[in-house]
């Protein structure tokens, strides 16, 4: 009998359960898809190092899943709580008829399980299908070919989803049992909320708050547009805090401010039930504005994270080519005791087997010329504070102009010409902002004193990068050969050889050749203790690590973005539904006074729309500013067509948000129009 009752209840209140069902299904689906990433490997042709990265990614998703399951668990429990509150009277009747509390709980448990099983089934089904589509995305990120279509089903993710959501259901069941056992019969019956004192804020106070919030947001926008977000520094932190505070103030004051404003436009204020809606929102805003602000910030994050995550499959390609100037780079800090190529030859590795041309050079340091000295302490401190520039109290590396030009030649770039008494600075790995700061300093003086002699500084700071390892990827000084070597070719002026570099592009099938070389070099490590300690980087390795970074940013971003989106929509929806439920009496009065169903519909629609659109609109404005800046950042990282990602993000938001909006509207309408008729 209890089963029958429970099933009938679910069937009867199907639309009440719609929101609950929707949340569960979406949650299960997202959870499965992201936990099944590892299983998609079978479809992809990827290298071993990329497989390792996929493992790391899976591990990360494992950790995030714990965090996500907490958020989802909280959401599901509060959705369930709302349902029980709605049904207090019904539960009260069961108790009044003499049913034991444990029996009532059992009915609820059966209902929860019933809904849980159905939504798990639907969510998993949707998840399995979506994960097929997801593997195309994975392939794109790793720039891997697909080995051909294979139906992917991750037993791992399946079991994990069952366990996690099983636990969540246990919590839900405990919570609902607790809710029933705690309530007294009288409370269950008098669940109708009574008239409450609306919170009224002083209008002047509201206006001040509103102006303040606009000011906060304006400054934050202006700052972020001016300084960008390329560098994580205290400015960015300030912008974030300003933006968040502005958002909170905005929603705290918005309804009061607009209420005052619109009361002046009587034509609008007294049209339809506009003033009712405004008052309704205003009466709730004290408690609602915090969650609305959170929802707004979460949506902003969602938009930002999602479009960044989606953009990752194309970003960083340019910076990849910048980071890997040559196929193979070898470095040793052994002070130039032996040339790398000679050493390799002695070990039986003929470079000519691997490359047409190679180039080897050394850099020089002078213990008397330190980074702080060259940059001046002021500038150094500024850079350290704003760009977290790491210790540059080391000697600055010097590179001979002839070496520099030879490398440029290998890259088919025009040679650098230095006039007499001129030297050049190179910052290859630094950000544009960093470079600008230094450039500005040289623009002022144009001169530098080294070892007691004055030199002209080459007007442009060089950004060409040749190595991704070693010291000069940051700061290096390019000098004429005569600066470092005397006429006999000996190192002069207190300088000594610091490190040796060997660079070349591989011939033939570069990827396989790189792998071969790497294997051979690795093979004599350890074999011969006297051998020079090499640091070797191939384009393959860098590419894999880039793909890994991309994949991690993309998956984690999309995962968290979707969960945030789901959470914001569900929170708004729950809030709106409980508000309508609590204030049903008010809407019923409207009906009795003569508002027909159409007018009630319009009122609910407008109210729901305002609740959903307010946080979304501010989030969109935030995002327009944010993405404009982020775009510049991403573009400098590797040029990406942001429009497409934003469109996909918008579509996702539209689907999830829209589904919740509709469910909320229909739920609210049902509560008032249909149930009102029966009273």
């Amino acid at each position: 009998m209890y089963y029958k009752l429970a099933f009938r209840n679910v069937k009867k209140s199907l639309r009440d359960y719609l929101l609950y069902f929707l949340t569960l299904t979406f949650a299960v689906c997202i959870f499965y898809v992201f936990n099944s990433v590892e299983a998609q490997e079978v479809m992809l042709k990827i290298s071993t190092s990329e497989k390792e990265i996929l493992k790391t990614l899976t591990q990360m998703i494992d950790y995030i899943s714990i965090f996500v399951s907490f958020i989802l668990g909280f959401l599901i429990v509060s959705a369930n709580h709302f349902l029980i509150r709605r049904r207090k009277k019904e539960l009260g009747i069961y108790l009044l008829l003499g049913m034991k509390k444990s029996r009532v709980s059992r009915i609820l448990v059966i209902e929860t399980l019933f809904i849980g099983v159905i939504s798990l089934a639907f969510g998993l089904l949707a998840g399995v299908f979506l994960s097929q589509w997801m593997s195309i995305f994975t392939a794109k990120i790793f720039q891997a070919d697909m080995t051909g279509y294979q139906f992917v089903f991750s037993v791992n993710a399946f079991v994990k989803t069952l366990i996690y959501f099983g636990l969540i259901f246990v919590v839900v069941i405990l919570a609902s049992t607790f809710a029933v056992s705690r309530n007294k019969l009288i409370d269950l019956f008098s669940a109708q909320s009574k008239n409450e004192k609306p919170a009224v804020r002083h209008p002047v106070f509201t206006v001040i708050l509103f102006v303040l919030s606009i000011a906060c947001l304006g400054v934050a926008y202006q700052q972020v547009l001016k300084y960008g977000i390329m560098d994580f520094d205290y400015k960015l932190l300030r912008e974030i805090i300003l933006g968040a505070v502005g958002t909170f103030l905005f929603f705290a004051s918005l309804s009061g401010f607009f209420l005052k404003l619109l009361q002046k436009c009587k034509g609008f204020y007294y049209k339809d039930l506009n003033f009712f809606i405004l008052r309704q929102i205003n009466s709730r805003i004290n408690s609602a504005h915090i969650s609305i602000s959170f929802v707004c910030l979460m949506l902003f994050c969602t938009i930002g994270i999602l479009s960044t995550g989606l953009g990752m499959n194309r970003a960083m390609e340019n910076s990849l080519s910048a980071a890997t100037a040559f196929d193979v780079e070898m470095y040793t800090g052994a002070g130039g005791a032996m040339s790398i190529s000679d050493d390799l030859t002695s070990k039986g590795i003929a470079l000519s087997d691997y490359a047409k041309t190679t180039y080897e050079y050394t850099d020089y340091t002078n213990p008397a010329i330190l980074g702080t000295q060259v940059l001046t302490t002021d500038l150094y401190e500024k850079l350290q504070k704003e760009y977290f520039m790491s210790g540059r109290e080391d000697p600055v590396p010097f590179i001979r102009l002839s070496d520099y030009n030879a490398l440029l030649g290998m890259k088919d770039k025009p040679a650098l010409v230095l006039k007499d008494g001129q030297i050049a600075f190179s910052y290859s790995a630094a950000s544009q902002g960093f470079r600008d700061v230094v450039q500005e300093k040289w623009n002022q003086t144009g001169k530098i004193s080294l070892l007691g002699q004055e030199y002209q500084v080459y007007p442009q700071i060089l950004s060409e990068s040749f190595v991704s390892i070693g010291a000069d990827s940051n700061l290096a000084i390019i000098v004429p050969d005569s600066f470092l070597l005397d006429s006999a070719g000996k190192v002069t002026g207190g300088f000594s050889v610091s490190g040796s570099y060997l660079q070349f592009n591989c011939t033939g099938d570069s990827k396989t050749v790189q792998d071969e070389l790497e294997k051979r070099v690795e093979s004599f490590y350890g074999e011969d203790a006297s051998s020079v300690d090499y640091f070797m980087v191939t384009r393959n390795v860098i590419q894999a690590s880039y793909a890994g970074t991309k994949a991690i940013i993309a998956y984690v971003g999309i995962y968290i973005g979707l969960v945030f989106l789901l959470t914001s929509a569900a929170v708004l929806s729950l809030q709106q539904l409980s508000e309508i439920s609590d204030n049903r009496q008010r809407y019923l009065v409207l009906r009795k006074i003569g508002a027909d169903d159409r007018l009630i519909d319009i009122t609910i629609l407008r109210q729901t729309a305002i609740y959903f659109l307010l946080p979304l609109s501010l989030a969109v404005i935030h995002s327009i500013v944010g993405l404009r800046v982020a775009n510049d950042a991403i573009r400098s990282l590797g040029g990406v067509n942001a429009a497409q990602n934003i469109l996909i993000t918008a579509a996702l938001i539209l689907i999830v948000y829209g589904a919740y909006f509709l469910a909320t509207f229909m739920g609210s309408r049902r509560m008032i129009v249909r149930e009102g008729r029966n009273e």
């Binding site: 009587k266 034509g267 204020y269 007294y270 003033f275 008052r279 009496q585 009795k592 027909d596």
Partner: protein, 255 residues
């Protein structure tokens, strides 16, 4: 004085052929403009069905109901909801003021619902508020008003749309005796000063004693009619009690 409401041979049947319930069985009466009429009867006598039919919420099985010259039994549902908004005012058991709205906004509600121009609506609100002496609380919220003020606001809301007739369904049903008295006095004021036509359904003899005329209904048929005329309210009350004991069965309700 013309007829505001004419009910002619109204019948309302529930159920099917085998099991027919005659909730209203040939009821005929009329209400003149500016009258304050009460309808009394025991539970299940059909008084609420009658009010529902008059207030266009329910449909009659046969017969005619003419309000202000319009036959509402012939109207379609869209016309009905418009008619209800424009021609009828309602006073409920509990006052049902919306606590989020100021008095002025509460009063103006029926006008905005029927899409009256806001200038006219505001002017009318003020006018009604002046008549009921609540202009000083117009900008206050219900929780800031006294009980009496709240009830007058509710009354103002019922008549602001200048209804042909105000319908009150057990308006004192959920009130203590003091609040009942205040409400009934303000209804009397509406009737006398604004010459509003009021039709009130009640089973409370005390509430009924404020009416000018009382129709008694039993088993779906008109049973008796009582006119106050020049009697004091106390005498009228006595008469009402007499009739109720005649009606039988409902005495326990009254005492």
């Amino acid at each position: 004085m013309s007829n505001m409401l004419t009910v002619t041979q109204v019948e309302k049947y529930y159920g099917n052929k085998g099991n027919l319930t005659k909730a209203l069985d040939g009821v005929s009466f009329s209400v003149m403009e500016g009258e304050f009429v009460g309808i009394m009867g025991a539970s299940g006598s059909g008084k609420t069905t009658l009010l529902n039919c008059i207030s266009t919420i329910d449909k009659v099985t046969s017969g005619q109901i003419v309000i202000g010259g319009k036959d509402i039994t012939e109207m379609k549902s869209r016309q009905l909801s418009e008619f209800r908004r424009k021609k009828l005012g309602f006073i409920f058991q509990d006052f049902n003021l919306l606590d989020t709205l100021t008095a002025q906004e509460n009063i103006i509600l029926p006008l905005t619902i029927s899409a009256v121009n806001h200038r006219e609506a505001l002017a009318r609100t003020l006018e009604v508020a002046q008549t009921l002496g609540i202009t000083d609380v117009l900008l206050k919220y219900p929780y800031q008003m006294s009980g009496g003020q709240r009830q007058r606001v509710a009354a103002a809301r019922a008549i602001v749309s200048k209804p042909s007739m105000v319908l009150a369904d057990e308006p004192t049903g959920a009130l203590d005796s003091k609040s009942s008295r205040i409400l009934l006095e303000s209804m009397e004021k509406l009737n006398v000063e604004l010459s509003a036509t009021i039709l009130m359904v009640t089973h409370d003899a005390f509430a009924a004693s404020y009416c000018k005329r009382i129709l008694f209904i039993k088993d779906g048929q008109l049973f008796n009619e009582l006119i106050r005329g020049q009697q004091t309210r106390r005498d009228f009350y006595g008469k009402i009690i007499e009739i109720i004991s005649l009606l039988g069965g409902d005495v326990s309700h009254v005492l």
